[in-house]
Each structure stands twice: as structure tokens, then as C-alpha cells.
Amino acid sequence: MTIDWNHFTPWTSLIGGVLLGLSAALFILLNGRVLGISGIVGGLLAPRAGDTGWRVSFVLGLLAAPLAYALFATPVVPRIDAGWGLLVLAGLLVGVGTRYGSGCTSGHGVCGLSRLSPRSLVATLSFMGAGFAVVYLVRHLLA
């Protein structure tokens, strides 16, 4: 293991993280809801009356973020190495897994750990572990 100093961005990571925490903080304190994106989106798949407006508004905010960001900074060019087939597979796994596991990096990772939830700790360790394992497999065993 070597530190990737070329890509490590300590300050923008911290500041960005604080913005994430701030959003989650305002979401629970103002809206009374956990900022768990797989849950917010999942709830739109089986819409219930009176329960969709807030979800749609939040998702629209996410979708509009790149536009807002571009107003004050140069957009980041993402490095997406996955091909189309892998993207489909990955998407399916994330879709199934987040529903089955009741959360994702925002729900369990940010909010769950902030709530000191043992369930979320187990979930986070599990998806992190799986992520580490898969990347190891792909980059160091199969490459």
C-alpha cells in the first residue's frame, strides 16, 4: 500500500464532507428525515400519496447540483473505467443490495454512523469490505 499523493485531496475532501454532513443535519432537523438516498429513491418506485413530493424535490436538487457547482468552479471530469456491461451489472447490484440492506453510503455511512447505529456500523463495514475485496480482485488478481 502506498499513498496516492497525486490524487489525495485532504482539504476538499474535508470541506465536501462537512457539506454532506450539513445537508444531512438540516435534513433531519428541518425535515425530520434521514438523508438516505437509496431509501429516498426507492420510495419513488412504489409511490404513496403525500409521500412523493419531498422525494422528487430532493432528487431534483441532486440533479441540479452540477449546474450550481459550475457557477463557481470548474466541473470535475470523472474517470469512469467501467464499460457498459459492467455499469449495468454494478447498477443492478447496487439497486438490489441497497434495498436488501436497507441503505447505502449516505443512509448507513453518513447518517447511520452519525446516529451511532450498530446496524449501520455493520452495514458500513460490510459494504466497505466488499468494495475493498472487489477492487483488490479486479485490480490485483484479475488484472
Partner: protein, 146 residues
């Protein structure tokens, strides 16, 4: 009024994701590549988020209503069960394969990235498939927060 607040929260969260580099799968996989050239950034992102979040949830825990007068929807403490672990492992595999999770994928979709679009559609399909399958299979049913 609330709709505007919710939109603003999505906007703020999305901006946080972009600024922190989380919408760049390369950066996420760089963190997951422990044994390679390791980029610790994601750990700092989580750290910064949780530092702020912990304070907020400590306050929220004491309340039954939100500050705007709505219900405080905090999940009940639940069991650590097989669904939680298995589901999280499956999610983690998908996350490691493409470097996308739900939030960043949606933000990236908003920027017009076609690969994010493919991922999001597949993710929605996966969610829908799971919900459909779990209707008739008690073993898949979870306490999942809504």
C-alpha cells in the same frame, strides 16, 4: 416552503459530493484500492460528514418533531440480521465494480454523463426487481427504513 428546503438540501448534498470528488468513480475506487496506490480522501469525506452529523442527530434524538413542525422520522433500533449484512455486501460489490453509489450516480446523471444514466437505470431496475421479489418471499423482507 418545505419543497424548496428539500430541493436546497439535495443541491447542497450534491455540491458536497462534487467538491469532495465522490462523483468521480476513479476517486472512489482509488480509496477502495487499499493495496494499490491508496487515496484516503473518502475517509476524510466520511469523517467530515459524520463530525457534523453526530451533533445534529444528537439533537434530533431528543425531539419528536422537526424544527419546521413535521414528524421526526428516526428509524427504530433494529436487529443486525442476515438481510442487512447480505444486502450491504451485494451493494459493496456493485459499488466496487463501477465506483458509483446512488447519490453520486444521480448527481453525475444531472451533469449529463451517459455512463451515469446507464448505471441509474440499472440501479432503479435492481431496486424494482428486489421490491417485486420480496413481496412473495418472506426471507427477503426487511425492516428497511422508508
Amino acid at each position: 416552503m418545505n419543497r424548496i428546503v428539500e430541493f436546497a438540501m439535495g443541491l447542497l448534498f450534491g455540491i458536497g459530493l462534487i467538491l469532495s470528488g465522490m462523483t468521480d468513480p476513479g476517486k472512489v475506487i482509488g480509496f477502495l484500492d487499499l493495496l494499490g496506490a491508496w487515496d484516503p480522501s473518502l475517509a476524510l469525506v466520511m469523517g467530515g460528514a459524520i463530525a457534523v452529523g453526530t451533533v445534529a442527530f444528537a439533537v434530533a434524538r431528543q425531539r419528536s418533531t422537526s424544527f419546521l413542525g413535521g414528524v421526526m422520522h428516526l428509524p427504530q433500533p433494529g436487529r443486525i440480521d442476515r438481510q442487512l449484512v447480505l444486502g450491504s455486501l451485494v451493494f459493496g460489490v456493485g459499488w466496487g465494480l463501477a465506483g458509483f453509489c446512488p447519490g453520486p450516480a444521480l448527481v453525475s446523471l444531472g451533469s449529463g454523463e451517459p455512463k451515469a444514466a446507464v448505471f441509474v437505470v440499472s440501479m432503479l431496475a435492481g431496486m424494482w426487481i428486489f421490491d417485486w421479489a420480496s413481496k412473495t418471499r418472506p426471507s427477503l423482507q426487511t425492516e428497511g427504513a422508508r
